[in-house]
Symmetry: C2
Subunit: 557 residues, 2 copies
Amino acid sequence: MVTDLDIARAARLLPIQEIAARAGIPEAALEPYGRHKAKVGLEFATARDGAAPRGALVLVTGISPTAAGEGKTTTTIGLGDALNSLGTRAMIALREPSLGPCFGVKGGATGGGRAQVAPMEEINLHFTGDFHAITSANNLLAAMLDNHLYWGNELGLDARRVSWRRAIDMNDRALRQVNAALGGVPNGFPREDGFDITVASEVMAVFCLSKNLEELQQRLGRIIVGQTRDGRNVTARDLKADGAMAALLRDALAPNLVQTLEGSPALVHGGPFANIAHGCNSVIATRLALQLADVVVTEAGFGADLGAEKFLDIKCRSAGLAPSACVVVATVRALKMHGGVAKSALGAEDVAAVTRGAANLRRHVQNMQKFGLPVVVALNRFTSDTAAEIAAVQAAVRPLGVEAILCTHWSDGAAGAADLARAVQALIAGGTASFEPLYNDHMSLQGKIETVAREIYHAASVSVPPPVAARLRRFEEQGFGHVPVCIAKTQYSFSADPTLMGAPEGHVLPLREVRLSAGAGFVVAICGEIMTMPGLPRRPAAESIGLDAEGRIEGLF
Amino acid sequence: MVTDLDIARAARLLPIQEIAARAGIPEAALEPYGRHKAKVGLEFATARDGAAPRGALVLVTGISPTAAGEGKTTTTIGLGDALNSLGTRAMIALREPSLGPCFGVKGGATGGGRAQVAPMEEINLHFTGDFHAITSANNLLAAMLDNHLYWGNELGLDARRVSWRRAIDMNDRALRQVNAALGGVPNGFPREDGFDITVASEVMAVFCLSKNLEELQQRLGRIIVGQTRDGRNVTARDLKADGAMAALLRDALAPNLVQTLEGSPALVHGGPFANIAHGCNSVIATRLALQLADVVVTEAGFGADLGAEKFLDIKCRSAGLAPSACVVVATVRALKMHGGVAKSALGAEDVAAVTRGAANLRRHVQNMQKFGLPVVVALNRFTSDTAAEIAAVQAAVRPLGVEAILCTHWSDGAAGAADLARAVQALIAGGTASFEPLYNDHMSLQGKIETVAREIYHAASVSVPPPVAARLRRFEEQGFGHVPVCIAKTQYSFSADPTLMGAPEGHVLPLREVRLSAGAGFVVAICGEIMTMPGLPRRPAAESIGLDAEGRIEGLF
């Protein structure tokens, strides 16, 4: 079997300077990291951070994910390659992979088949060290916090009310909950603590939402690490940690340039979770790409109810971005699962199931239309898909004024996404986009949560326990009422119940807990279980990763 | 006041390609990281890893450190610059700085004044990411270990006998001792755990002792993570972690090339602690430098009793290296402290105290002579030093056949170390070095510890608790009797009591605990307290680190 790694290795990559030249980045602005990766100097990258974007922004999002796989990253890359092959000057903006899933079960995040960014081993492992810098900044704040407690606690921080957790870029369930500072006087005051995976850290969200270095430091300073006994917030700035954190992050904040296997320039930068954070690459990378390219193709995590909603209501709102078009990725196989077919039975034709499952796709499409975006569906073709099944998908979205375009970029590269690229070009040229966030800044925090639940999730209502409602009012009293909400719920359903596939209606969204991310500038609304530290599976991918006789990495996928 | 950072910033650095050319490294072998840092490709760096070294190796070590400071790194850099200025083709091989001390109290590790390696902010912060890679490899092994316990513990590992700890490159006392995997079934089996600073990890020692990638993976596989209930060792290979660890470390294993402020090529690579590890830069970097340069100047941590002894008995033995000369660094001020003067009284002339304190210097010099090395003393001059005090130092070492050379490279750069360089050239040209490790491989482990205690520390005896003696015999039965010993004790005294300065005699070395580092290939013998995770001071340096209006890092020193 030819693996993604085999395809990636067989590709002849161009020197990164050549990719930069294609993208309009002068060599003087380039900080090479090896031969095929570079950082784009922050001065160049943020030189026009006040200017209006030049290019058109295209968001790639997806249906509610299933075990069958949809291929959002692959489509983002394939679409970028196809646009370039048609003569449109396109750039791709993606998130960086996390080490955790690489060693766990999911594998890397560099696309697949002939639609990959490269060098895949390096991007999937340490890349240019951004996540390590983010981990360090997160943990420096934690160390300074415990050090403050140790040396007399001048700020009066209540050790029981410390909310700041440590971070590690690893799937390590043993670190979810720990008792720290044990062992007596020299080691500090024992307290409950825990580690999140780095992509779930507020530092990651801050990193991805900052337009420049100055804003980064301001946001870092606003991070709330806990409260005093009388409920006063204690911030990173109170601990004098914001300067050193910004110093740790300075070089990382410069966006990373790489190339696709077909030579398209791609910025791969930042990688927040799409549950307790906003799930898309850095604002700096997206804005830079929009200054350089005519079309920028970017991706948001999970399904459109989570990733795209946050991309639009959090990132675009904060960064002043307005997408020109939206691509919703689906597969016949995944729609069959939404229509009730088990994974083991996906091989057999089942047009009725496709039609049932297409309710999920239709709702995501309609949701994106609610933001004022023109939509096209990218249908990633599998060899087992039948003509009748494909026709069923196309028929399902046609009444919404939306085309479903067959894509084969996984096996065919740019040529396989040329139809999709032409459809996207037409949407952009049509100029029908009139982006608006779903809710305005002035709505109450609870109102914002209810609006997303009603409009996007089609919930009948939100159940808000009285202490949670009080906490939301408290945030408003403290001056944080204007921020957007970042809803954390399962990605597998529009509801909070992962087994409710398709397009459930009338469910109740159970709001369990709210957290203020004052640095990132949003309130996290937790509905149901959320995972801020994954575990490894019984047979972690790490067991199969190693070096071959030539010192090349094998087993990454 | 002009700070080290001001001097470093004012320096005009050359493109790293030019430094590489000076060093004889072809551009094709260079992986640039920005404009002034590069990795030397592993293939080139290890191409001749079986060949005999071409150049002469010079070890820079020091007296027992005091609060007055001695300047080993600065002298290593100044000597390298001076050799180059005299027309000798010299390279410098140093350890990489750890983030922990940068944010704590000690500051960076890039030298000082006009004897620095640059770019200092980048080297002191993330550099090329090597320590992050080492941290990740360490913690992947830990995560796979707890994951193994979680999924049924096929290997029968006894959770009470797990010796593998997690690592973080941070001074964080709260992580010294933790209870992990709390919170119930989904989080695993609760057990006692803790974090060491990355420089104290066995992965760091393995990284620094491996001659090539293949040896790295073999050594990683041999790391013992704990025992089964019946005392059988469980290794990283048993957990199938060695391949993924090696993949994480592959790029890091290529040595880093930077330059001094005067344009000398310097390899800065690896950075193990000099207590529970061996305290010197990577074997790969040293061996590469010895293929390229006529003289390689390298440094070992702490005083010569710790750093140099380990450099010689562990690194040189393992890597087949033989130094040609040894520089012992001292200052009048530090010798006065060894002579009983308080730090606050160092400004006043006190020739008698210098003479008393010089006993410490003399012993270190004699110890180095016991390894068959010709020695020169580098006396780092302070403006407060008087002619009589300097003469006292020179008189103290003259009977040993050793010169004490005044050095002012801190303020004068290469010119300030020219006399030292000429003395080193003379020692090399003299060809009197006949390096031999202190003990041979076949001696018992306890015999090796006793030999170092007697010959180097001048201890009367070693107190060995019976269970510790039994453990040493156990290691021998398991086939680890041939390895050297790595003694961890205070760096402030030849004895295990940090207050016994000067040259104490007849003390008893209290051996408390022994640990087998089967991957690194030594037995750690712990005498007294050792610190594998420092804490931050009341006012950490981090509080003063930040970005100025131009986005430059300030407050690093």
